[in-house]
Amino acid sequence: MQIKEFLKKLSEASGVSGYEAGVRELVREEFSQYADQIRIDTMGNLIALKRGEATQAPRRSIMLAGHMDEIGLLVTKLEKGFVRFSTVGGFDLRVLPGQEVIVHGRRDLPGIIATRPPHVLSPEEREQTMPLDKLFIDVGLPEEELAQLVRVGDVITLQRQFTELAGNLVAGKAFDDRAAVACIAYCLQHLATMKHSWDVYAVATVQEEVGLKGALTSTFGLMPDIGVAIDVCHGNMLGVPEVDTVNVGGGPAIAFGPNIHPLLYARLVETAKAFEISYQPDPTPGPSGTDAWAMQVTREGLPTALVSIPLRYMHTTVETLSLKDVERAGRLLALFIASLDEAFAQALGLKSE
């Protein structure tokens, strides 16, 4: 698998929270090459199992979670031949005006997010962010035709063009968190060339952007011994203080804090150091806001960790990351998994039934 090609496919696919079917097929295709078993649960999570070599009980398992849903829009109302919409997931409304979109009606309709032109706005209005109810989508259809092709509740995705920048960086939509899905695929591919005794559940979760829902239910269903979430974190960019970001291209960020089991953090760091994979520590004082936050408190709880890929302009159509970081994160996870043994399980105090 080529990370760039796979990420491009994922990024340009449509999979707004709750409607991940489109992107899920791509993931299934890719994961099934490395998995012994693959299934989809009630919520729509894609769960791939790659068995470990362990022969004697207790059989241990690790769950890798990266979410495949993306933030998007939803049709709320048709008005005078234009589309009113609502957001799914957290948007900065300021990036919406002028964006190209695709309205997934009876067929896909390209269009743009528009608002009253500046020519007719009062100076005050120009100084305010356009609220949601002042924005609409123009697909260039007359009222009657629009009504035949589009219904309330139809999904809308933003511009899907994948762009290569200088220095091994790429830009596109939904890298949050499809980059993690690509990273997991790369990890599985890598694992195929190694020995590992623990079972690996590679889970592409759904509905993370609307409340970590896929992780909540899939973890309950699988109840692995430990869980690792892969997500994106804020990369360095103009106008944002250093303390809030890590460097794009500086290697995966390994989180620690209340959401992270100290021993998992330690093992990840050892692994990175041992194999000279550059990484960045990522202090996370409160809620990590990732699938790991949900996984940790499932049933009687489990040790969790979080590996993040530095990313600029999160939740815009020009999310930007370094392919090198994705690859590094994938390798790190594979090596980490290969290092898991019963001694480590004991150290974590895992039950042995």
Binding site: G90, G98, P110, H119, D138, T163, V170, Y313, T316
Partner: protein, 356 residues
């Protein structure tokens, strides 16, 4: 794609911010050359001369080649690019868009960075980002890298928005309709008149630097020295939610528009009536518009010499001065018909009559 759509694609996808019209000029030249004698003024405006059955009257058709864009103004140490707008940009439609920097070393793709919502203070989210605070990210990590990519101060920057046929097949989305559409009109007008005798000589002019002050119009009009002029422009469609009729009554698909006045020009009334009659006689739908702000090349051209009878023909376009605009094919076709019919009627007699 029919030939018109192909023409639209070639014209709108070409680069040409004010002062940097080289690329678009080449495209237009390719289309004009088979039909007309090509001249150029010293500012870069291109002029296609097509003689009909008579040298006079001299009819000037003007559409501007330049589009709104940006220019590299600063390269930061950590490799981000600051820019200045060329032409009137509205800051609210700029964030998180893709752009191409046209460098001596070729095209460099970049994007306008936008702070993630997660890191926004509540107050901050209420205020639009100022242009001066925006920047372009080409994926470089240092000023050196940026320069290595060939980017230099002053390099022009244009939006990325490929020509797209929208769902109904009758509406198109693209950048730079303002005013590649005008260019398309004079090109196809000449094509139609190729083997028709028209009682005049047509000067089809693609002007430069309209967006920064009608500059190309001022120079090219000297070269042409017209007896009558028709400005071909986009017009603001007002049929979107939230626009009141008194702000703009123009609707997409309801025909071309005739500009009754703008900030810089009042049309020649007889010429105006000629347009209206021609439209009625050929039952071509026509809408009327009036702009309190804004102006067109006509603002310069009609003041040439002792004055030049001038009108502005428009085609309704939504969302101009942003990355992507939308227009309707039938409006364009009607505008073209009207223009051609008009050119057939502008003989010496009629034109003299305009100013008696």
């Amino acid at each position: 794609m029919d030939s018109t759509e192909k023409l639209f694609q070639n014209l709108t996808e070409a680069a040409g911010v004010p002062g940097y019209e080289g690329e678009i000029r080449a495209v237009i030249r390719r289309y004009l050359e088979p039909m007309a004698k090509i001249e150029q003024d010293k500012l870069g405006s291109i002029i296609g001369v097509k003689r009909g059955s008579s040298d006079s009257p001299r009819v000037m058709l003007a559409g501007h080649m330049d589009e709104v864009g940006f220019m590299v103004s600063l390269i930061t140490d950590d490799g981000f690019i600051r820019f200045v707008p060329l032409g009137g940009w509205w800051n609210q439609v700029m964030l998180a868009q893709r752009v191409v920097i046209k460098t001596s070393a070729g095209d460099v793709v970049g994007l306008l960075g936008a702070k993630p919502p997660h890191l926004l203070e509540e107050e901050e989210a209420k205020k639009p980002v100022e242009k001066k605070d925006m920047y372009i990210d080409i994926g470089a990590t240092s000023a050196e890298e940026v320069k290595a990519c060939g980017v230099r101060l002053g390099d022009p920057i244009i939006p990325i928005c490929p020509f797209t046929v929208l769902a109904p097949g009758k509406t198109y989305m693209a950048k730079a309709w303002d005013d590649r559409l005008g260019c398309a009109l004079f090109i196809q007008a000449l094509e139609r008149l190729k083997d028709q005798p028209h009682p005049n000589t047509i000067y089809a002019v693609g002007t430069v630097q309209e967006e920064v002050g009608l500059r190309g119009a001022k120079t090219s009009v000297y070269n042409v020295n017209p007896d009558v002029a028709i400005i071909l422009e986009v017009d603001i469609a007002g049929d979107v939610p939230g626009i009141k009729p008194e702000e703009s009554a123009i609707k997409l698909g309801k025909g071309p528009t005739l500009l009754l006045y703008d900030a810089r020009m009042i049309p020649n009334l007889r010429l105006r009536d000629l347009v209206i009659n021609t439209a009625e006689e050929n039952n071509i739908p026509l809408q009327f518009s009036a702009m309190r702000g804004g102006a067109t090349d006509g603002g310069m051209i009609h003041l040439h010499n002792e004055g030049v009878p001038t009108v502005v023909l428009g085609v309704p376009t939504r969302h101009i001065h942003s990355h992507a605009g939308i227009l309707h094919r039938s409006d364009y076709d009607h505008a073209l018909d009207l223009l051609v019919k008009l050119l057939m009627r502008l003989d010496e007699q009629t034109v003299k009559g305009l100013t008696l």
